[in-house]
């Protein structure tokens, strides 16, 4: 059995199609520099633009009327805004994990997906960041959460997890952005050099920040990149841990749980990889990037999903066990309410989406079936959203005093803002694909260089065709 799995692993190449350094540069760089894009790009971007307008409308109406346009109430004081915040932050996790941790662990296969995943991180955190800002009753004073010196000497209240959130999320966003940009500099230089139009030359020239491919540049670049990777690594763990503390610090049954930090981190990676797959699979097909985003990549991402999914599922089981073992009537009621209460369908759907269906990934055949992988990734995305819905809503809607129990139903404006951010995210991702190399060109070349050393036969003819990466090129 085990042998069979080993045998059916995809072939061990991370770059297929017999690429040379030149062909890699051309293949990736031309997506940005050419004006020919698949029709799908136009269709998806147009749909996403509608989403952006939905977002703008939803925000405008929200600011005019107040959060009462949403379905939140007493006792469910947090609704879609917080669910979506946690969901987006989770999606943002794959980027840093792929860029930083896998870099430190010298996982070469990360190379072809890290750029993409980092971009996803940045846009997902942008979406996430919108929600806490907008969900407060008075968004115009939301800056009070920042420790800004002011004449009233009124500081934030540092015991509140919401303050920790502010620090965690802003740090995460800043570091992710820097990391992404740093990694882009050599590629911007490549594009600057290859661009034919003046405007592109100027813009990429500015973005390249004077990169001249000197050995000194490369030396400093490597040091900076490694440092940022080291800096990002704890953030992968900290951000979602702290987000989970928003819940774990409270005393509400269903929130007051010590397992939340690791369980949230695992869930975040789970949903992050699901989102990478969701995006990579179609774009890989539309831009014909199968040579760089090989079946091997998909296979490994699927395996990570399977692993983190199991951790998440373990979390669900432990929550139930704790409720049973605590002999705490409120916890026990909560568990029963999740299984059989008014929101039970969502809970069962969550178990099926996150726990049951991903188990098919044990089968290598499924992992190599691109269409199936895409569907499973979508299902996991939905499942992780349901998980946050169940945590936020079912815990709040029936807590201690039955007299205050209530129900939560989202309104059209809840959906508007949520779908709006999905539109915004997609819009930004497709702009990214259009204007920035979606796969790191120089790292792919580097990868080719390194893999060629192990497979010299494949690259001997091409090695001399382009300058080796680490030599200086004068513009």
């Amino acid at each position: 059995m085990q042998q069979e799995i080993v045998r059916t692993e995809p072939a061990g190449r991370l770059i297929e199609g017999g690429h040379t350094y030149e062909s890699i540069t051309h293949k990736i760089g031309s997506v940005v520099l050419s004006y020919k894009h698949p029709r799908a790009w136009y269709i998806v971007t147009a749909i996403a633009a509608v989403g952006v307008f939905t977002l703008i409308t939803s925000i405008a109406w929200l600011l005019l009327r107040g959060v009462g346009i949403w379905g939140i109430n007493q006792p469910v004081g947090w609704g879609f805004a917080i669910i979506n915040f946690v969901w987006w932050i989770g999606i943002g996790h794959a980027g840093t994990l792929i860029s930083a941790i896998l870099l430190l662990l010298r996982q070469q296969w990360r190379t072809s997906i890290n750029r993409f995943a980092e971009a996803m991180t940045i846009f997902a955190v942008m979406c996430a960041g919108m929600f806490p800002l907008l969900h407060v009753g008075r968004p115009w004073v939301a800056y009070w959460l920042l420790p800004i010196p002011n004449w009233t000497s009124a500081w934030p209240q540092f015991r509140s997890p919401l303050i920790w959130d502010v620090f965690a999320v802003t740090t995460y966003f800043t570091v992710s952005l820097l990391f992404w940009f740093t990694g882009l500099i050599p590629d911007f230089a490549t594009l600057r050099d290859r661009a034919k139009k003046r405007i592109a030359q100027v813009i990429f020239g500015v973005l390249a920040m004077g990169w001249r491919n000197s050995a000194k540049h490369w030396h400093r670049y490597d040091a900076a990149y490694l440092l940022l990777a080291g800096l990002s690594t704890p953030l992968v763990v900290s951000v979602h841990s702290i987000v989970s503390l928003d819940f774990a610090v409270s005393l509400i049954p269903g929130w007051h749980t010590t397992i939340f930090p690791p369980y949230f981190v695992a869930g975040a990676i789970y949903s992050g990889f699901a989102m990478v797959l969701t995006l990579v699979i179609p774009i890989r097909a539309w831009y014909k990037m199968q040579d760089f985003l090989t079946m091997k990549h998909l296979d490994w991402m699927a395996k990570i999903m399977l692993a983190t999914g199991l951790i998440v599922f373990y979390g669900y089981i432990m929550e139930m066990f704790t409720a049973f073992y605590s002999a705490n009537q409120y916890e026990q009621y909560l568990a029963a309410n999740r299984f059989f209460g008014p929101y039970a369908p969502y809970f069962w759907a969550l178990l099926i989406c996150n726990g049951l269906i991903p188990q098919v990934l044990w089968s290598p055949k499924v992992r190599q079936n691109v269409a199936l992988l895409f569907i499973i990734a979508l299902i996991v995305n939905v499942g992780m959203w349901l998980e946050r819905f169940v945590i936020v809503v079912t815990s709040l809607h029936r807590d201690f005093l039955p007299s205050s129990w209530g129900m939560y139903y989202p309104t059209v404006w809840d959906w508007g803002l949520y779908l709006g951010t999905i539109g915004f995210f997609t819009f930004m991702m497709f702009l990214f694909v259009r204007f920035v190399p979606m796969i790191s060109i120089f790292e792919m070349r580097d990868l080719l260089h390194q893999t060629d050393r192990h497979h010299p036969a494949a690259a001997t003819t091409t090695a001399a065709a382009t300058p080796v990466a680490h030599t200086e090129v004068t513009p």
Binding site: G137, R159, L251
Partner: protein
Amino acid sequence: MDNKQHQPLNLEEIRKRLAQARGQQYWRSLEEIAESEEFQQILEKEFPRQSSPLGAFLHRRQFLKLMGASLALAGLTSCRPLSMRKIVPQVQQPEEMIPGKPLYFASAFSIGGYARGVLVESHEGRPTKIEGNAKHPASPGPGGVVNPQAPAQLNPDGTPKHIGATDAFTQASILTLYDPDRSQSPMYQGQLSAWTDFNAALAAEMAKQAAVRGAGLRILTENVTSPTLAALIQELLKKYPQAKWHQYEPTHNDNALEGAKIAFGTPVNTIYRFDRADVILSLDGDFLYSGPASVRYAHDYATRRQVRYGTTQMNRLYVVESTPTVTGSAADHRLPLRPSQIGAFALALAKAVGLPVSAPQLPAEQQRWVDAVARDLQAHRSRCVVVVGESQPPEIHALVHAINHALGNAGQTVVYTQPVEANPVNHIESLRDLVQDMAAGKVETLIILGGNPAYNAPADMEFARLLKELTQRNGFTVHLSQYEDETSALCLWHIPESHYLETWGDSRAFDGTVSIVQPLIEPLYPSRSAIELVDNLLGRQRNSYDIVQAYWSKQLGTANFQKAWRKALHDGVIAGTALPPRPVKMRLDAVASAAQKVSAPAEGLEIVLAPDPTVWDGRFANNGWLQELPKPLSHLTWDNAAFVSPATAQKMGLQMDTGGLANIVDVVELRYRGEKLRAPVWIMPGQPDDCVTLFLGYGRTRAGKVGTGIGYNAYKVRFSDALWTASGATLVKTGERYPLASTQQHHSMHGRDLVHVGTLDEFRKDPKHLVKAAAHEEPLPTMYPEHTWEGNAWAMVIDTSLCIGCNACVTACQAENNIPIVGKEQVARGREMHWIRIDRYYEGGLDNPSTHLLPVPCMQCENAPCEPVCPVGATNHSEEGLNQMVYNRCVGTRYCSNNCPYKVRRFNFLKYNDPKEPVLQLLNNPDVTVRGRGVMEKCTYCVQRINAARIEAKKLGREIQDGEVITACQAACPTHAIIFGNMNDRQSLVAQLRQQPHRYSLLEELNTRPRTTYLAKVRNPNPELEGA
């Protein structure tokens, strides 16, 4: 396109309307006038949209008219001299007036003619809050009714010490004063008119009537207890001997008076002395909530129900009722019976206590009840009381009088006096006379003083049709009322009536005590009181002050009148005007023969018609506070529903979906005597089977912006011979569904120790037993050093044995703390704003569950879970133990509310406090911040009152004394179940109550250490009935 309808633009009308506006209202009114719907209608009528002046041919004259109108409108915004008189700046401050410090004035608020004494808080001449006047018999304070002769004692901050309890209606009556929908101008045939025109028309009409000695003159009033008004009407009747005075009050106590006539041969007023009663049996009588003495009765009842360490005695309450009521929920034993079964029950009881009546055979369970109750009553002869509700027929009232006599209660727990009413007539018969005269064409001039008979007269009298016909055939019909309502619309003239806080008057309490109704403010709009209008009928133009003073100077004697008058105003009562007990002679034979007329229990469906617990007979329909006040037990807001029992609902397949936001309920059609009424059902645990209760007061068509068009109108099936109960109706499920907004969706405690309940016996054996499940001897462990609370440590104790769920605290809190109303849709979403709520839990079967009530304000936890989670420190702790909200600092994350295990925090999801009407801003308490959108708010223990007391105590160089700070909820509570004070003061009442063995904290296991704690609920069940 039809241009021949054009009439000249009635600029006069606009001018008249403008003439009504005065004072600060002036500029704002102009905008309102220019934009108001009525004005739009006038414009539309004059310049129909279809005939656009540009598109269609425009006559030169029409063009000029249009220009003229434009100019007139332009002129509206320009100047009219506000006052031509000299004004004098306030160089010297008037005595007693200190800006920022409220003054209190005694007055009286009446429902159905009966006064409740009030002390009105006035800020710079602007009444903002109503408290009870403990010197008044209907609004006792914690120590009972204060002797009016005793000199007034004030706290250092100026609040009187004799603040008494109130009911929710009294608390909410201040909102009516500032209601922007109040009528502001006389209306003639539905058009704005001027006072001068009305005066002239009235004078002409009265001259016409004088010629025929008033043969066509009829006065229709509500129930009148006012001596001044009665004297004026008598004077009028003397001047116009052929004229007639009719009274109609939709919820009047006709049955009680008729019953007294049977029993004693004369109508008497019955006063119960629950403070002397050990055993109480109520037959369909909601004495703790309804009626003119409810606050007093609740107080008296509670005095014998305070269970403290060492208590061995408490009263016992049996309730037999046809609709779950406040009184029923407080009962130790409750038996739901259909109204007609209650008659049989009363007969059986009468027989059991030895009266010569024959009783029908009762079902075993009822018979067991009768036997047990009869034994208990007889064991407490002259210390028990049997109460009967107005909905029972006169025969049962007579029978109950006889039972009380047989038990030796007369003169002890039941006291009789002369009727309080100035002219005690049977209101239905009185209205019937009028209606017959109207039908016969004998009525030419009909003056309706208050009331709304076109809406609430019995359906068979067809009052509305007759009134309309009378007006149509040039009858002179006048309606004086605060709102231009259903009756006003059918009258020739509508005259705005002054609110009781705007005019002078007088009124009697349930025991006859007279109060002078003292105004707090000049009328907001030119208006008249009933007294002034009757004075006008007499051809005089005196103001209310002169009229009332003239009457009382005659009564009190001219010597020392000024002193007596001042004293009466100051105290709020005229001492010695309570009616003395009068001896009565029981006519047993008459009672026995009347008893034979008691009909056997009816078969089939029965209807109960009850005044709504919050909008009453409809008079409070436009009062938003009362509309949004959760009705006792059902916690329904903004609607009336038809109560059916769970078994009846099951039988008929009626559903009530409580799973969502609103309760989506089935709509039924009730068919009775050819009338059809559609009503949403409410499945009410404890409702007797085959009995549907309809609530009066809804289905208003001209109540105002708040009250129009909500609920169903139960008056449509109210007939003069079946005012309260009826049988022979059919109920049909329509298949329609309707959303109802209730503030509590879950009714069981789910096995949680929220209300601790035990019996008196258990308490006697082991007082701690009741709360054993929750109480910990030692404080729960904590990782942090214990904080010692020094100085004042504010705390509250709520006695759950005493809470009857009357909602007075909820409304009092709303009035004191500027709490907005949010409307039905927002309530259904779960966004009501009340800072204190009364949780209601059921225990036991669906058919007759026990009800447990738990008032929940903020717990002011010492370890408050809300505080550490606020990211901006907007909620924090004071040194005195208050969990404070800094509204200005609140960002609105709602994390505090999520983390509050008691869910007492309230959030401004939308801009709820947004008075479009400037007049409503006058209502706000200036000592309490008005919260804006996006801000969390919650109970503060009335911190503004604490601070007022603190300032004065500091000035005196001493600590705040116990009793100097009374929270709004505490002040209003009729049973004094809420006690507030400084728990560090060993002598304070709250500190003593915190030592009680049956005290417990809600959700103690969470270690929040609430400052608000509870005393367990102690019941006093009859062992004979318990456990069966």
